[in-house]
């Protein structure tokens, strides 16, 4: 039982990153209908920003703030410079995001080379609670991810801005008639989505080594999580992210570990065959 719980705990840590990415994907999709595939590369950039900041300042806290802030700016730049021109044709936006993957990876290789980098972990060691091992860093990462996700949820559900986001997601035309600045609101979701990816990048850095290709593994899972949670459904994405992480960890623990990806995506396929719009509510459209 302890072993099972240990695997589940390991999985929650993985799932926290998937949830951060998936919420970003789902927010952008909910308002723009653009499937932003380059979000994995935003995680990679976030990890490098955190790493560079840690090298300069020696502080992981500053690294976390810098990763979120710099990625928010990158999110705005990509929306203003690229995605706003594709809002009428979301498919074009999707293809553009595929191209962006190559460009951002190339930039990563050019600046940092393809060699793996790592930072000294902010918190080493673990707590032993009746045989269940809580790695301190993992606890911090889960806590940070949870706080960020809760904050995002609270903003969406409890503020005027959140109300505007939900109005645009439900019916952009009606929202515009009511005086909601639709284009501006859409831009902010790109900013928030990128900032969440930046936080995800920080978590990835504090867990292990990073390279310009680190986003690849997280992108597919993040996207699968967004699908399972229901595209456009923030709560669904968060829950599905943790579920995916736990499933992956259990697969590594009890299945043939080399088949880990196959198990995980096998589950994704089964879920989508059963519920094509995902497990989350109203995922055929945008429900924030």
């Amino acid at each position: 039982m302890i072993l099972f719980l240990q695997h589940a705990l390991n999985g929650i840590s993985l799932g926290a990153v998937y949830a951060l990415i998936a919420v970003g994907i789902t927010l952008v999709y909910g308002l723009s209908r653009i499937i932003h595939f380059a979000v994995g590369e935003l995680v990679m950039l976030g990890a490098y920003v955190a790493w560079e900041t840690w090298r300069l300042t020696g502080s992981h806290t500053v690294g976390l703030a810098a990763a979120a802030a710099v990625l928010a700016v990158i999110g705005m730049i990509t929306e203003r410079g690229i995605f706003r021109f594709t809002l009428r044709e979301p498919l074009t936006g999707f293809i553009v995001s595929l191209g962006l993957i190559m460009i951002l990876q190339g930039i990563g290789i050019e600046i940092w080379s393809a060699d793996p980098r790592r930072a000294d972990p902010p918190l080493a060691g673990s707590w032993d609670v009746s045989g269940l091992i809580f790695r301190k860093q993992v606890a911090i990462n889960i806590g940070v991810s949870l706080l960020v996700l809760l904050a995002a949820y609270a903003v969406l559900m409890k503020t005027r801005y959140g109300k505007a986001v939900r109005a645009v997601a439900d019916d952009p035309s009606a929202a515009a008639l009511m005086g909601v600045p639709v284009r501006f609101i859409i831009m902010t979701t790109f900013i928030v989505g990128a900032a969440l990816a930046g936080v995800g990048g920080w978590v990835v850095l504090t867990n292990g080594s990073i390279s310009p290709f680190v986003g690849e593994a997280y992108l597919l899972r993040g996207f699968a999580v967004a699908l399972i949670g229901g595209l456009g459904n923030v709560q669904g994405a968060a829950v599905a992210g943790v579920g995916m992480g736990v499933a992956e960890s259990l697969a590594a623990g009890y299945g043939s570990p080399g088949w880990n990806d196959a198990y995980v995506f096998g589950i994704v396929i089964l879920i989508l065959l059963w519920r094509p719009t995902g497990l989350g509510r109203g995922s055929s459209g945008a429900h924030l």
Partner: protein, 397 residues
């Protein structure tokens, strides 16, 4: 008019003859191209950079001494280097360029088997001599006497010999059950059977935990090893990720007697990713001598030369320089003995029948079962924060 023409012709002939006469007086010269197809970036960069540096240093030394004299012509070597970015597709593309576009007949790398097992399809039909430490060549029978790929030259000892050293160290620490953790790929699979055979012979149970390539969070796999009640963990590669797995083992409190790995930096054990020494012993098997912990004066002098030549070649994986450095010198000697720089089959036959005295001891292809090289190997232990080395000499005469 006729006189004028004859005079002009005479001047033209004289002009052409002069440099030829000069060349005859000074001896003929030529250039032999050497290709390098290595992981100069990407996840295997720590392997590719030293392997490339070995060729470059050897070529510089040979050229600085005036080149190699073959059949009355003095040849200098010219390197064309390609970065395969640790990717199989890029390795094949790089090999295509080196072999088919640049017409190069001698290529070093890729050193990692997962890449070499694909790029070999380019070199075999082109009759190119290809040096690589690829374990997949061993497991795939490419180096067997019956194989038609007679110009693939293995540059590391047989994996079975390395596995025997690996398991010997596990046995020394009283390990009864060992987890072998590595990516699920061809290189790993090439090492699994010899490891299991050596473990069985030593009375140790081996379990294999293969993870998806590009894994950096090892928590799940280490937890599984703990659940299997292993008392030893062996990590094959990628070497750059060793601190990640060590951190997971320490933080998840997996009770092991020893951690071993292939060509790992012992400094990982002295100052780990968690900032303090490991709570268990550590060893690293080397299928070459150690650059950081040289076993003799010759290796020590070479290590200093290498550091001066390429300061980027550092750490325990600097030992991968031995998969190319001596072999480049050996190739030049083989060309001299064969009396050709063109006939790769003849040069290949000389290579497999000669013994070359290099920095890594006596080097030869004396394994009747496959074309794996014999050279000095080593083992590095870290016990109580102290680093000790041990040498396993080559079996060449």
């Amino acid at each position: 008019m006729n006189h004028k023409r004859i005079l002009l012709k005479a001047i033209a002939v004289a002009a052409l003859a002069l440099p030829m006469a000069s060349a005859t007086a000074q001896g003929r010269t030529g250039v032999v191209k050497i290709g390098i197809n290595e992981m100069l970036s990407g996840m295997f960069v720590t392997v590719g950079v030293p392997a490339s540096a070995g060729v470059r240093l050897a070529v510089k030394e040979i050229n600085d001494k005036g080149g190699v004299s073959v059949g009355g012509t003095t040849y200098k070597f010219e390197i064309t280097e390609a970065d395969n970015k640790s990717s199989t597709a890029d390795a094949v593309a790089a090999m295509n360029k080196l072999v088919n576009d640049d017409k190069i007949k001698f290529v070093f790398g890729p050193t990692v088997g997962a890449l070499a097992s694909q790029s070999q399809e380019v070199v075999i039909p082109a009759k190119v001599i290809n040096f690589s430490a690829a374990t997949t060549w061993q497991s795939g029978g490419m180096l067997a006497p019956s194989s038609k790929a007679t110009l693939l030259m293995g540059t590391q000892m047989a994996v079975s010999a390395i596995s025997t050293i690996d398991i010997g160290a596990m046995k020394e620490y009283g390990v009864k059950k060992v987890a072998f953790i590595s990516p699920d790929d061809e290189t790993t699979k090439a090492n699994m059977v010899p490891f299991e055979t050596a473990a069985k012979a030593a009375g140790i149970e081996a379990i294999f935990i293969l993870h998806p390539p590009k894994t950096t969070d090892y928590s799940s796999f280490v937890t599984r090893a703990g659940g299997e009640k292993v008392d030893g963990i062996y990590f094959l590669y990628p070497q750059a990720n060793a601190p990640d797995i060590l951190r997971a083992i320490v933080e998840l409190k997996i009770p092991i007697k020893v951690f071993g790995g292939r060509a790992l930096d012992p400094q990982f054990a002295v100052k780990t990713a968690i900032g303090r020494p490991l709570p268990f012993p550590f060893y690293s098997t080397l299928n070459t001598p150690s650059i950081d912990y040289p076993g003799n004066a010759q290796v020590k002098a070479f290590a200093e030369r290498l550091r001066a030549f390429d300061p980027k070649v550092v750490g325990s994986t600097a030992n991968f320089v031995f998969f190319s450095y001596d072999f480049m010198h050996m190739l030049a000697e083989a060309m001299k003995i064969a009396g050709t720089v063109e006939d790769t089959e003849r040069i290949g036959k000389v290579l497999t029948s000669m013994t070359y005295s290099g920095v890594a001891g006596k080097i030869c292809y004396n394994n009747p079962a496959m074309r794996t090289a014999s050279l000095d190997g080593g083992l590095i232990y870290v016990r109580d924060g102290k680093i000790e080395g041990k040498t396993f000499p080559s079996s060449c005469k």
